[in-house]
């Protein structure tokens, strides 16, 4: 596909500067994660109540994400932007997943969101520790994640999910799995869609993570349509429940796909 061929290099000096910036960016990020992990490791000494500790953990992660964006935006490596969002407390947030950094960048705007992350990430020990301390959920066990996600929403927390389950394949249409819709139906939570716009394919599945961008990495959060709580299909009829969650999934996928197509930033240009 033509859009996946490597772009022509820009002026060599900007390219070199960018390469240096990106090279510095990853260790900076890794170091940040480790500092965060250390802070969270000692937090039980300072804060005794687990719920308070979790709030503190999320606040620290939120500020770290903001600092990270501030630095990379200032260094002209990234152009991360946030459009205004309606109040999202207590909703299920459903987003597309174009880049490696989506969760981190979203935390910078959504301090209290509980992320539902893919189980693969638990391979990384520091990350596993952070996920645990932040009170995030892993999708390793679908039955358990459904139950805990609903419990979190019932307790008034805000949940963030990427129904694609992995990053979008650039150029391909979105392919949502049904978990998010099922959680929305079971919990009776409202759904706020989030549309993540990108240009180019840096940090996407189509590139190795270490590939140097030729231009500033553009990423923008836009709020998409909101869905009021829905009545689930009657319990007992697996067929109806399945039809309901598939229809809801298709609807969520369609509104996000439409918003991406309208902006023309669907990661393919």
């Amino acid at each position: 596909m033509s859009d996946l061929t490597l772009p022509k290099p820009s002026k060599s000096w900007t390219r070199a500067a960018r390469a240096a910036g990106v090279t510095a960016g990853y260790p900076f990020f890794a170091l940040g994660c480790c500092v965060l992990a250390v802070l969270l490791a000692v937090s039980p000494l300072l804060v005794s109540r687990p719920t308070q500790r979790r709030i503190l953990a999320r606040r620290l992660a939120h500020h770290f994400a903001r600092l990270f964006i501030w630095v990379t935006n200032r260094a002209a490596l990234t152009d991360v932007r946030f459009e205004p969002l309606p109040p999202v407390e207590g909703t299920l947030l459903v987003a597309n997943h174009p880049t490696l950094m989506d969760a981190i960048w979203l935390i910078a705007r959504l301090p209290s969101a509980v992320c539902v992350l893919k189980a693969d990430l638990e391979r990384f020990r520091v990350l596993r520790f952070l996920v645990n301390r932040l009170g995030y959920l892993s999708n390793a066990d679908p039955e358990k994640v459904l139950a805990s996600a609903c419990a979190r929403l019932a307790a008034g927390e805000t949940l963030l999910m990427f129904p694609e389950g992995t990053r979008t394949t650039p150029g391909a249409p979105l392919a949502f799995s049904t978990g998010a819709a099922e959680i929305a139906l079971r919990s009776g939570a409202a759904v706020q869609t989030l549309v993540l716009h990108t240009r180019g394919t840096y940090l996407s599945k189509a590139r190795p993570w270490w590939y140097f961008p030729d231009e500033r990495i553009f990423w923008q959060l836009q709020s998409g349509p909101r869905f009021a709580p829905r009545t689930p299909a009657p319990a007992g009829s697996l067929k109806d429940q399945r039809a309901a969650r598939r229809a809801y999934t298709a609807e969520l996928q369609r509104v996000i796909q439409t918003a991406l197509a309208r902006a023309g930033h669907n990661g393919t240009n």
Binding site: A140, P142, S177, T178, G179, S237, L238, K239
Partner: protein
């Protein structure tokens, strides 16, 4: 010869998920051949617990890919 549990699994797939009985073979892949995704599998597991009285652990779903895997799960418990 089908065991009682296998019979129940087949009935759930045919009656509740409207899957053609001919497609339900041990080597049938749940997602690719039968369009059963992970959330459908959670529902099937819950239904199997109700019908068989077995305490099928949810972690077992992680390694389930085919109809044969579900049968092994039912027979193994």
């Amino acid at each position: 010869m089908m065991t009682d549990a296998q019979e129940k699994l087949k009935r759930i797939l045919v009656e509740e998920f409207e899957i053609d009985a001919g497609l339900i073979r041990p080597d049938a892949h749940l997602l690719d051949d039968l369009d059963i995704d992970s959330i459908d599998a959670v529902d099937i597991l819950a239904r199997l617990r109700e019908l068989t009285g077995k305490s099928l652990p949810s972690e077992a779903l992680r390694s389930v890919r085919t109809v044969g895997d579900v049968i092994a799960l039912l027979d193994g418990d």
